[in-house]
Amino acid sequence: MTIAVLAVQGDFAEHEDALRSLGADCFEIRQLSDLDRPFDGLVLPGGESTVQGKLLRELGLFEPLKRKIESGLPVFGTCAGLILLADKLSNDDNVYFAALPATVRRNAYGRQLGSFYAEEEFAGLGRIPMTFIRAPFIESVRDGAEVLAEVGGNIVAARKGSVLGIAFHPEVDESRAVHKYFLDMIK
């Protein structure tokens, strides 16, 4: 199984480490020619969504990736990646791939002093570590999107079909449970 990791900015290397430890092959997408290689799934890493969104458009990656996601390519976004996937942002006019029917609030916990660590239930995975870094959360989901985890009453993980959006950073913790969940989605 081959996973493409968007590598225009952010913690893509951590995702690659996690995926490789589970036996998946991965490669980085930094420019249009990288899309020539076939892949079975796409990871959108943590980082700054404004930077990633801008680079996606200016490097010509946005439209081809959007078409792939719309045609059912499994995609997994964490933090900034969740923002790129949401079809509505409550405190920002930008919308990117609009693949997850959910309203997401950017920087929902405030500045870095609001960053935190928690261990909570994730549907089907039990209690897992969750690291939130200047994180968003999901205010609401629609159109059959499924809530997978909540922390303190806020939705922090949701899925609709082949689209998985997570507000925290499983890639920086030891647990590989969420990455395994994504790889299982592809099988």
Partner: protein, 290 residues
């Protein structure tokens, strides 16, 4: 506190592959964010102007920093003087995202750096070599950058620091384990950090380049030498077309091995900052704080 340090190191991980830009006004901050900065450094005067003005240089006016915090959604950093833990407390009080304990400002203490383990907000510190980097990490720094020679537009020192750090890391990796104890003694750092570098071949925190980066090629050079991201200070807002130059540097950092793309990005950027050669300057800021 252990978790807090992890969270603070994690924020630096999110900045990787990005460009952090010096800004002095909310307007510049918006231009930087629009151009693709992954964070901004809020300061009253950019390093080139600090150098030109001379005199004692201090933490910026909190009102000015708050104006920039209000203007952008990306992380906002600010500088305090080396050893000035009260300036750091003030920056923490206004909920800055990252504090740069910086040699660009006049040092407040010529012996001790800030005990950064006492703070909840993260710190980035400059380092010329591996020993300095690991000493700052011992004091609680959650991110390291080269010192370069701020405000000169001359990349030579950042190159020197990055090469030095990378070669010292390679040297530690190549050592036998029983040689690491002596290496720790010579570097004046804890054995555990030396062991980490030996086993992992990198610093235990994210390592950016800073100082003198003025062109997309400069930024790509630092990335190819092993930087995980780039600070650009005077290079952007001292140039002819800041927005265009900033956007070009952002793209050069993402595709830092693609010479053809970087050549295109380097076309018609307008005037680069004039810069000063290393030999022409009287005050070596990189020598502040070891």
């Amino acid at each position: 506190m252990e978790k807090r340090y992890e969270l603070n190191k994690n924020l630096a991980q999110m900045l990787k592959g990005g460009v952090i830009m010096d800004v002095t006004t909310p307007e510049q901050a918006r231009i930087a964010q629009e151009a693709g900065a992954c964070a901004v450094m809020a300061l009253e005067r950019i390093p080139a102007d600090i150098r030109a003005a001379g005199g004692v240089s201090r933490m910026s006016d909190p009102a000015m920093i708050k104006g920039i915090q209000a203007a952008v959604s990306i992380p906002v950093m600010a500088k305090c003087r080396i050893g000035h833990f009260v300036e750091a407390q003030l920056l923490e009080a206004i909920e800055i995202d990252y504090i740069d304990e910086s040699e660009v400002l006049s040092p407040a203490d010529d012996k001790y750096h800030i005990d950064k383990t006492k703070f909840n907000v993260p710190f980035v510190c400059g380092a010329k070599d591996l020993g300095e980097a690991l000493r700052r990490i011992t004091e609680g720094a959650a991110m390291i950058r080269t010192k370069g020679e701020p405000g000169t537009g001359d990349v030579v020192q950042a190159v020197r620091h990055m090469r030095m750090m990378q070669s010292e890391i390679r040297r530690l990796v190549s050592m036998r384990e029983d040689e690491l104890f002596d290496a720790a003694k010579l570097l004046q750092v804890p054995y555990e950090l030396v062991l980490y570098v030996h086993e992992n071949g990198k610093l235990p925190v994210v390592n950016f380049a800073a100082g003198g980066v003025a062109t997309p090629a400069d930024a790509a050079l630092m990335m190819q030498l092993g930087a995980e991201g780039v600070f650009v200070g005077s290079g952007i807002f001292k140039s002819g077309n800041p927005a265009k130059r900033a956007a070009a540097i952002v793209k050069a950092v993402t595709n830092y091995t693609d010479a053809k793309l970087i050549a295109e990005l380097s076309e018609n950027l307008g005037e680069a900052m004039v810069g000063i050669n290393e030999q022409e300057i009287e005050l070596l800021m990189a020598e502040r704080g070891k």
